[in-house]
Every structure is written in C-alpha cells, then in structure tokens.
C-alpha cells in the first residue's frame, strides 16, 4: 500500500438559520425570507454580509442559467408565497388569542376531587413538564391524560383551581389572563393517572 497519509476529515460546523432551520444560503427559498435575513443580520453579521451584499447577488445572478423573464416570474411567485405565509401566521396568532385555557374542578370520591386544566398545549406549553411542576408544587399526584374528546389535559389530584391560575400566570406569562376560565363540573368517573 502506498504510504499516503490518511486525509484528515473533520466535522464541519454548520450554521442553520434560526427562522427556517435551513443553511442560510437556502433562506431565499423559504417563505420567511425577510425574517431570515433579519435574523442573520442580528446574529451573524459576517455571514449576512457575505451572502446578501450586492456583489454576491450580482455574481449569483450571473452564474445562474435562468433567463431574465424567468427570474422576474420567480421573484413574483416568491413575493406571493411570502405574503400568503404572513397571512397564515397572523391567522394562527388570532386563533391562539381566541382559544381558552379551562380550569375545571371535578369530583372523584365523596370528599376528594381533581382539578383539570384544558387547552394549555395551544400556547406551546410542555404538558408533561407542567403537570410534574404542579404535582411537585402541591405535593400531590399530577399527570397528563386524554379526555373523551381526544384532547390532552392536565389532571391534578386535589382542589387547586385558584392556585393553578396563579401558577400558570407566574410560570407561563405567554398565556394572557383573559384566556383562562374557571368552571365547575360534575365528573362521575374516577380520574385515573
């Protein structure tokens, strides 16, 4: 065998855009292109200068093999896709604002009851971790289970409606107070963890 040294292969560190999770050079194909560019400018100004300066853009256009007409058509399509994406995000945000977090108190045995919290996952809250936190806080049992509608809910053994409201507000400020609702409900079956 020849005595060539083995090529040293090192792991490359790849930078991924914080907005679209693609390498920044592909951000122009993502619908969130403008946000990607802003993110890159804020966090990695050198990369931004490298990719977005005018020289790079004209170089890229010169390198490509698309005719002028196609380029213009593609640019128009991207604009449309971007505005559609923004409209979609706005709609989702609205839906989020409208959805409620419901805190219910239901009876389990004659003197024991459980507190049920519905609808936290819409706000991006990690249900399992939150259930554990509640249980630790009140020194009782807490878990996540599916209710008959198929939605996930946090069940805490004991009657803590008001305290839970305060806890949510303290730990998860992203849930606006107006969206939380306290109700009562009679639940005949035993809440199983």
């Amino acid at each position: 065998m020849s005595s060539e040294p083995e090529p040293v292969v090192t792991k490359r560190q790849v930078l991924y855009c914080g907005v679209c999770t693609l390498p920044p050079e592909y951000c122009e194909f993502a619908a969130s292109r403008k946000k990607c560019e802003e993110w890159l400018k804020d966090t990695h100004p050198e990369e931004h200068a490298r990719l977005y300066n005018d020289q790079a853009i004209t170089q890229k256009l010169a390198m490509t093999t698309l005719s002028e007409g196609r380029v213009a058509k593609e640019a128009a399509k991207m604009e449309k896709a971007m505005s559609k994406e923004e409209a979609r995000m706005a709609r989702e945000l609205e839906k989020k604002m409208a959805s409620k977090v419901v805190i219910k108190r239901a009876e389990r045995n004659k003197r024991k009851c459980v507190t049920i919290v519905l609808g936290l996952d819409v706000f991006g809250v990690d249900l399992k971790k939150t259930a554990k936190t509640f249980a630790n806080h009140f020194a009782c049992g807490g878990s996540v289970s599916k209710n008959p509608q198929g939605l996930d809910e946090i069940v805490v053994q004991g009657d803590f409606s008001d305290e839970i409201l305060e806890l949510i507000h303290k730990n998860h400020p992203e849930v606006p107070r107006d969206n939380i609702e306290l109700t009562e409900e009679k639940k005949p079956k035993k809440a199983a963890p």
Binding site: V9, R12, L22, P23, F29, M63
Partner: protein
C-alpha cells in the same frame, strides 16, 4: 420517502443497541460508503450509545445523543441523514442540479435527467451506478440540498437525458429534517 412522517405518532419502540450490533452496523456502513471510513470513528465511536427507534412502515432510525444519524427502511441499506451529510460532506458522491431545479427539489419532487445535464448542473466524471445513494448539491450553494437514489447510472443520464434520473429520499425541510428527539 419521508413525505408524511411524524415521530410522535409513528414511534413504536426505542431501545439501545448492543455493542456487537453497533460493530455490525459499522462494517456495513464502511462497505457501503467508502467515503465514510475516515469519519466513522467520529460518528460512531466504539462505545457509542446508539439508540434504535422503530417507526411505522418498517422505518428504523439510528440516533446518538438525541441526534438522528442514520435511517433504514425494511432491509434497505442504511442511509445517513441530511444533517450528518452537512457535517461530513465527503461521505457520499455528489451530483449538482441547476438553480431552476432547487425549488422543485425543496418540495420533494424527483429529479429528471435534464436537470442534471443542463449548463449549471454537474455530474461526476466517473460513472455512478444505478441504485446508488448520492448527495444532491445545488448550483451556487455550499451545502447539500437533498439525498437521492439514482434510478439510472450517470452515464445513462448523460446519454439518454430523458426521464427520471434521481429519486429523492431526503430533502431540506422535509418531515425528517424537522424531527427532533427529546
């Protein structure tokens, strides 16, 4: 292949792999991907805690430290993930598509021969046989765009220049790319 993939919904089992099986996998990978050999010790060290995740449709994922490294369908050859390919670009042979094709590849379309033979695209000098796993690069871009399976050898692609050239297995921002293990 990962058009509809949701880890939460399809995961049926997760377990650590025995060291002997890890060794087996290393051998298979070294044989399959000659470009992978120098990096194999970095990616899969001898005492690696390799986790095997079984999903629906006979898909198996192999992960180390909550990062998915390889995947496999049925008993097909084990393929690296796109993220791994970005970190070690040399492990797969590379083909290049022209800029116009990037948009379609990013939505999962298979690559037709003209996209590989037009000016701006690039196929390697030596022949890559049919049914080989290749990295799909893009004109003007530094990082891989997708991982594909050749449906025709590159010589055929150059000469026939019609029809389906490369099937896409993985592309940027597909469901597997977005999957994270906790």
């Amino acid at each position: 292949m990962f058009k509809k993939f949701n880890l939460q919904g399809t995961m049926s089992g997760q377990n650590s792999v025995k060291t002997s099986t890890v060794r087996n996998i290393r051998l298979k990978l070294a044989k399959q991907f000659p470009g992978l050999e120098p990096c194999l010790d970095d990616i899969l060290p001898r005492k690696a805690n390799l986790i095997q995740i079984k999903c629906k449709d006979h898909i198996t994922l192999y992960a180390v430290d909550s990062e998915i490294l390889f995947f496999q369908r049925f008993e097909d050859p084990i393929t690296p993930t796109l993220r791994l390919l970005h970190q070690y670009p040399e492990i797969l042979p590379q083909v290049k598509v022209d800029r116009g094709a990037i948009k379609f590849v990013l939505s999962g379309a298979n690559i037709m021969c003209p996209g590989l033979t037009s000016p701006g695209a690039h196929l390697p000098e030596e022949n890559i046989p049919k049914d080989a796993i290749v990295a799909v690069m893009a004109e003007g871009k530094e990082h891989a765009l997708a991982i594909g399976l050749t449906k025709m050898s590159t010589n055929d692609i150059k000469s026939i220049n019609k029809g389906n050239g490369i099937d896409l297995i993985q592309y940027l921002n597909d469901p597997l790319w977005k999957t994270r293990i906790d």
